[in-house]
């Protein structure tokens, strides 16, 4: 009957690229052979609506079954029966073009399933899509049909059962306006308030004190990475802050009005707005509860996207979430996506109703899954099928004790605060190498705790819901169907056996989706690093840029100066000079942190009046007596390896040219600082300042151009965030002995990290003082 009723009908679907929409389109194409589908798709930045439909709908594994059934005919069938039109439910009039307007006006049924399903969407975004979306669709349809003189289509709007979850006991399939429990505010006022909230938050984010705070945080994260990167990051922090304000605004407004979150709140008002603005348009509202992977159609376990329960479950399985609050007796209302799709299609196939009505599709009333049972099933499954950590050990999942939400939130907040403080402190420590990597694990733990807190705050309410969503009308509709339709379009949640569903369908599916390690074996991370390393050391042409200090040599310009300045002093003078430098150290360090270029210019003044020729000879001794002893043999070997592969190697350093001269044979090019000379002595002024920060990135790009190389052929080795612009500009960046900040960034971005050490016991000096005897020496 369903197929017959819909045969020859044109059905429009919004939200076709989403989880529910994809399943809906697939089912219509596969099981309702006579119908035609019009998908309203928002064009992407680069992709047209038609391209998006092809890539994001038809390419999805949802269609594997139909593709298998039709074989080569699939493409022609899809082309004949699925048309994509450009449209955006976030815009008044849906942003349709002429063709779109025509197609939409000739539809018999319109299924509106587009929504912002994220529970932590900013208030205004949720309002635009979830609250205004349905009434925009309704208004556009009325207008188009009036224009075209066509009969009004049947609008099936997908909402959520959670619109009336705020109370205990039965939640009936009644219009939102008929609910006894809900205090519905005026949605137009809510709209105005949400738009105001956006501009208020934006204005507040531009307050000087707040901007200073963002700037401080950017500096804390990136160090001296240069103005451009810091500005970018500061702006990102500002935008994130505005978003966070609006997320919070949504959450608090929703809670104040009795909904668990902004999603349910905006969906509720969306229903109200739709009822207010529909005119004569026939409207049916379908309310599913939490939609999860398919029970049978198109195949058991099919799911799209990583949605609400999945991250929580995976976090639990990975041992990151050891507690999740909830009431064991409460019902977690989950419904497989194919049941929802069947309900929508059945509704669409039914007579166009004169009055709006509601169908709910949920499991709670007929076949409840209690939270306690859900947890037991999940735990049992992961005990038998554990995930593996990166040391190849199976992860033992925790036993939940169902604590109160407040207690868990309190614990997590405290942990987050503590780890945050530890992280800030650790970032200030002057550590590098393996210690720095240790520090970056604090950061990881903190972000894990943060995420856990997010989950608890977002989804906590869903494990505490005590409303029971009635589905009598849906079951009535189901039972009115003939036997064949009932077999093909299962809508009755009573058929679900929760243990089978979870153990054999849902959990295996999401574990596969999450790409987590389900067996001990080679680390995927290691292989990624290996791949990067292979690309770095390939025989393809490469431009390889090395930083010097702490990348190739564990020393710095101050040490070189101290050594050179003490070369011809007697022991007493040496002590005085070094004492003076040490007293100055904090100031120099601060200056270096603030601006590397300024620091170098300031510091090199000290060379004023120094005899140039003598210093150049001293530098050779400096190389053997200090620098080479503090060099990383692995680093030198790496440079040589690149050279033997025929790569162009470049050294970019703030050190003085004559100091790094002994390294000349290792590099195709050395970019260093040059001091001015007058009558055989140094002037103390830099005639060419070494590039720092973004200038290094620019220089690298210039060199790349000269060698005719693309970004992918650029390799950069550096140790600190001050070289972040250069590392970012290289296609193949490597962090060498990274300080804590860079270690964290490198881990996040998957950059290879090298730990290069000085050779053991070669140099035990604490101070970089010349130990060579002053006086006559050999002349080469």
């Amino acid at each position: 009957m369903i197929a017959d009723n819909l045969a020859g009908k044109r059905i429009a679907v919004t939200g076709g690229t989403g989880f529910l929409g994809t399943a809906l389109i697939e089912r219509l194409l596969r099981s309702v052979p006579g119908c035609e589908v019009v998908a309203l798709v928002r064009p992407g930045q680069r992709l047209s609506a038609a391209d998006r439909a092809r890539r994001e709908i038809l390419k999805n594994d949802c269609f594997d079954r139909l593709r298998g059934e039709l074989g080569d005919a699939f493409e022609t069938e899809a082309a004949a029966r699925l048309t994509a039109i450009a449209g955006d439910v976030g815009r008044d009039g849906l942003g349709l073009d002429e063709e779109g307007r025509h197609l939409l006006a000739t539809c018999d049924v319109v299924i509106h399933s587009a929504a912002t399903v994220s529970f932590d969407a900013p208030l205004d975004a949720a309002v635009e899509v979830n609250m205004l979306g349905p009434s925009r669709v309704a208004e556009t349809l009325s207008e188009l049909c009036l224009e075209a003189g066509r009969p009004l289509p049947h609008l099936v709007a997908v909402s959520t059962a959670y619109v009336n979850s705020g109370h205990k006991g039965d939640a009936a399939e009644e219009l939102i306006t008929e609910s006894r429990y809900l205090a519905l505010p005026d949605w137009r006022q809510e709209l105005a308030a949400s738009r105001r909230a956006r501009s208020d938050a934006d204005a507040a984010s531009r307050h000087p004190e707040r901007l200073a705070e963002f700037q401080k945080r950017a500096r804390l994260e990136l160090g001296a990475a240069g103005t451009a990167l810091l500005a970018q990051r500061t702006e990102r922090f500002r935008q994130d802050w505005v978003t966070a304000q609006l997320v919070e605004a949504g959450r608090s407004r929703a809670r104040a009005l009795g909904w668990p979150d902004a999603y349910a709140y905006t969906k509720s008002l969306g229903e109200k707005a739709l009822l207010d603005t529909r005119g004569d348009l026939p409207v049916t509202i379908v309310r599913p509860s939490i939609v999860e992977s398919a029970l049978a159609e198109p195949r058991p376990g099919w799911i799209r996207g990583f949605r609400m329960a999945e991250p929580v479950i995976i976090s639990y399985a990975r041992g990151l979430l050891s507690q999740f609050p909830g009431v064991p007796e409460s019902i977690v209302d989950v419904v497989p996506v194919d049941l929802v799709v069947a309900t929508i299609i059945a509704v669409a196939a039914a007579e166009s109703p004169a009055e709006p009505s509601v169908y709910q599709i949920a499991s709670g009333a007929r076949n409840p899954l209690h939270y306690g049972m859900l947890v037991d099933l999940i735990r049992a499954w992961f005990t038998e099928h554990p995930l593996y950590d990166d040391r190849n050990q199976p992860i033992v999942v925790a036993e939940w004790s169902f604590p109160g939400r407040g207690r868990v939130q309190g614990q997590l907040r405290r942990a987050t605060r503590l780890l945050g403080a530890a992280e800030r402190l650790a970032n200030q420590l002057p550590v590098r190498g393996e210690k720095a990597e240790l520090v970056s694990t604090i950061e990881e733990q903190r972000s894990q705790a943060n995420r856990a807190l997010d989950y608890v705050e977002l989804y906590g309410a869903y494990a505490e819901t005590e409303a029971r969503f009635r589905i009598e009308r849906t079951i009535g509709l189901y039972e009115s169907l003939p036997e064949t339709d009932r077999a093909a379009f299962t809508m009755d949640p009573a058929v679900i056996d929760w243990e089978t569903y979870l153990h054999e369908i849902h959990l295996p599916s999401i574990v596969e989706h999450a790409r987590v390690r389900t067996s001990p074996g080679k680390r995927t991370l290691a292989s990624r690093e290996e791949r990067a390393k292979r690309a770095i050391l390939s025989e393809e042409p490469r431009l390889v840029v090395f930083d010097l200090e702490n990348t190739l040599i564990a020393s710095n310009v101050v040490e070189s100066y101290a050594w050179l300045a003490t070369r011809h002093l007697e022991p007493g003078g040496r002590a005085r000079l070094v004492g003076g430098l040490m007293a100055e150290a904090p100031r120099l360090l601060a200056l270096d942190r603030r601006d590397r270029g300024d620091f170098l210019r300031h510091f090199y003044r000290r060379y004023e009046g120094a005899p140039a020729e003598r210093l150049k000879r001293d530098a050779l001794e400096l190389w053997s007596d200090l620098l080479l002893l503090r060099a990383f043999p692995d680093g030198i070997a790496r440079v040589r390896r690149h050279r033997s592969l025929g790569h162009h190697t470049v050294l970019i350093t703030g050190a003085l040219d004559f100091v790094v001269e002994p390294l000349r044979p290792l590099f195709s090019e050395i970019v260093a600082a040059h001091l001015g000379e007058e009558e055989g002595t140094f002037t103390g002024e830099l005639i060419s300042a070494p590039p720092t920060g973004e200038a290094r990135a620019l220089l690298m790009e210039e060199l790349a151009q000269r060698y005719g190389l693309e970004r992918g052929a650029l390799v950069a080795y550096a140790d600190s965030t001050s070289d972040l612009p250069m590392l970012e500009a290289a296609g193949l960046p490597i962090a060498v002995n990274p300080e804590a900040k860079l270690a964290a960034i490198a881990r996040r971005r998957g950059w290879p990290i090298e730990q290069w050490a000085r050779t053991r016991g070669a140099d035990s000096r604490r101070l970089a003082v010349s130990t060579l005897r002053p006086g006559t020496r050999t002349t080469p």
Binding site: L620, W623, S624, D625, L628, L629, A631, P633, I636, A637, R640, P662, R664, P665, L666, T759, R760, G761, A762, S764, L772, R773, T776, R777, T778, T779, P780
Partner: protein, 529 residues
């Protein structure tokens, strides 16, 4: 009282534990009853008037040579070459014998009105000496008179403009020499003959030559046919050098060879117990041993190394002879043998040795694993005349901490040799054919050798070749107390204790093996009957 000769002690129940050198430290080991311990002869008497002896040697040359004073004429070009920092070991107390000899030569040259004089350190492919080391070897006066004017040079085997090809030997070996030395009217070579391998034609033909020349005798084949290289009559290394010496003479290079031998008075007062036989230790020796062992336990390795490398040996001049290379060296060897030779009856199944902190190639530096191998299997194994101390198929057990540590200034190519070459193979011929050329011609190593204080890129290969005879001869090498990974990389077996090592050795040589310990330094040369 004349010094006592060397002795071979048979260990019995009453024998006190034997001192094993262990890098910058010592171990006392109880050797099984019946083991033999070879002790070196006591230091021979020092020459009472070294200056007088030197002058006498210069004016009374051996062989076909006129007295030095008659060879010096105004306007001539004189070059004085001298052995580098690898000799003697440990460095001797000031004044260094080179200083004494060179001062005598310079004095004579000044009297004769010679003013074109240059000093050359005969480095071959060794690292350049530091100014401090040159000052020590030559003395402040000589250094200050020559160094600032560019007249004190170090032989640069990679400077083509300063090398001259003198021809080929009858075996077709290239003879390439330091140009200044070859083109001088007289080349005076000042040697220190610490072990029997040193000196003779090897001084000039090796010390002042280049890779092109050296490769003819510094290779696996030659080293396998030098049995041992401490015995010039059975050493292919020496035969080759002597052939080159002939070519040098025929090319008209006039060499006046001055060879010196030192006595084996190796350690200063506080370490005197190191050159005494354990059963003769008195209270002072025992306390010194205890005090230094306890102190060393608590000392970080870098500091311990500094302490040991600051040891200046009280070595005294035992003989000096000058003149024509051949006859001079014959006399020199007599003196070396007089000081070092110990008669040993028959070979042994297991040879044990304690390796000290120093070898010729890590003066003021780190004894890296390759140098450990070279000291044990190159030098100590070869301290024999006649037959090797250990039988063919026997085992060498050596004690040394063998840290995985390198001096990046002195031994840059060693690091890569260890990390790349030995990680691939320890096979001598494979290493020689597959890797030697690349290391020898690597521009970075050449740069460091010429401008820094680095051994030449090819030098670690020579160290490995030095072990060639031993590696062929032995069936197993065990290192007691070494870094396990480093020892394995060398292809040897690590053991925690001497008794473990002996157990492991028995697997190879059978039960109740004969064991011999070579108690050195001070140095000895075993005359195996």
């Amino acid at each position: 009282m004349s010094p006592r000769p060397g002795v071979v002690l048979e260990v019995d129940r009453s024998t006190p534990p034997t001192l094993f050198w262990y890098g910058e430290g010592f171990r006392l080991e109880k050797l099984p009853v019946g083991s033999r311990v070879i002790y070196p002869p006591e230091p021979v008497a020092a020459l009472a008037d070294p200056e007088g002896a030197i002058r006498h040697a210069l004016e009374n040359p051996l062989g076909d040579s006129a007295p030095l004073s008659s060879l010096l004429t105004p306007g001539m070009k004189l070059t004085i070459a001298f052995d580098d920092v690898s000799l003697p070991l440990p460095p001797m107390r000031a004044p260094d014998i080179r200083q004494r000899v060179i001062e005598a030569v310079l004095e004579m040259a000044a009297q004769k009105g010679v003013d074109d004089v240059e000093l050359v350190a005969a480095l071959a492919l060794h690292r350049r000496m530091t100014d401090e080391e040159l000052r020590h070897a030559l003395g402040e006066r000589v250094f200050n008179a020559f160094a600032p004017y560019g007249l004190l040079r170090q032989h640069d085997a990679e400077d083509p403009s300063n090398l001259v090809h003198l021809g080929l030997t009858e075996e077709g070996e290239d003879v390439e020499l330091n140009k200044r030395a070859a083109e001088s009217d007289l080349l005076v070579y000042v040697n220190i003959n610490l072990v029997a391998m040193d000196g003779g034609h090897k001084s000039v033909a090796t010390g002042l030559s280049s890779y092109k020349s050296l490769r003819h005798h510094h290779n696996v084949r030659t080293m396998q046919h030098s049995r041992s290289f401490m015995d010039m009559h059975r050493s292919e290394l020496h035969s080759s050098n002597w052939r080159m010496g002939k070519v040098i003479a025929e090319a008209g290079v006039k060499v006046f060879q001055i060879e010196t031998t030192l006595n084996t008075d190796t350690f200063p007062q506080q370490f005197r117990f190191l050159q005494r036989r354990e059963w003769e230790w008195n209270l002072a020796d025992r306390s010194a041993f205890l005090a230094s062992s306890k102190a060393l336990e608590k000392t970080p390795p870098e500091i311990a190394r500094k302490i040991f490398h600051s040891i200046r040996a009280p070595h005294a001049l035992a003989s000096v002879q000058a003149g024509e290379v051949g006859p001079v060296h014959v006399r020199t060897l007599e003196h070396v043998h007089r000081q070092q030779l110990v008669t040993v009856e028959g070979q042994t199944d297991i040879l044990t040795m304690g390796l000290p902190f120093i070898s010729p190639y890590n003066v003021n530096s780190i004894m890296n694993p390759i140098l450990v191998a070279c000291l044990g299997l190159g030098y100590f194994f070869n301290l024999y005349r006649g037959r090797p101390l250990v039988r063919e198929g026997g085992v060498v057990i050596m004690s040394h901490p063998t840290p995985w540590a390198f001096n990046p200034v002195h031994h840059p190519s060693y690091i890569d040799f260890f990390e790349q070459v030995l990680a691939d193979t320890t096979d001598l011929f494979e290493i020689e054919s597959k890797y030697e050329h690349a290391f020898a011609t690597d521009p970075w190593y050449i740069h460091l050798y010429r401008t820094g204080n680095a051994y030449h890129g090819v030098h670690p290969f020579y160290m490995w070749y030095w072990c060639a005879h031993a590696l062929n001869h032995l069936s197993r090498v065990i290192v007691v107390g070494g870094d396990r990974a480093a020892v394995r990389r060398l292809g040897f077996s690590p053991a925690s204790t001497l008794s473990d090592a002996l157990e492991m050795a028995e697997d190879v040589v059978g039960r109740d093996p004969s064991i011999t310990h070579i108690h050195t330094p001070p140095l000895l040369l075993a005359d195996v009957q």
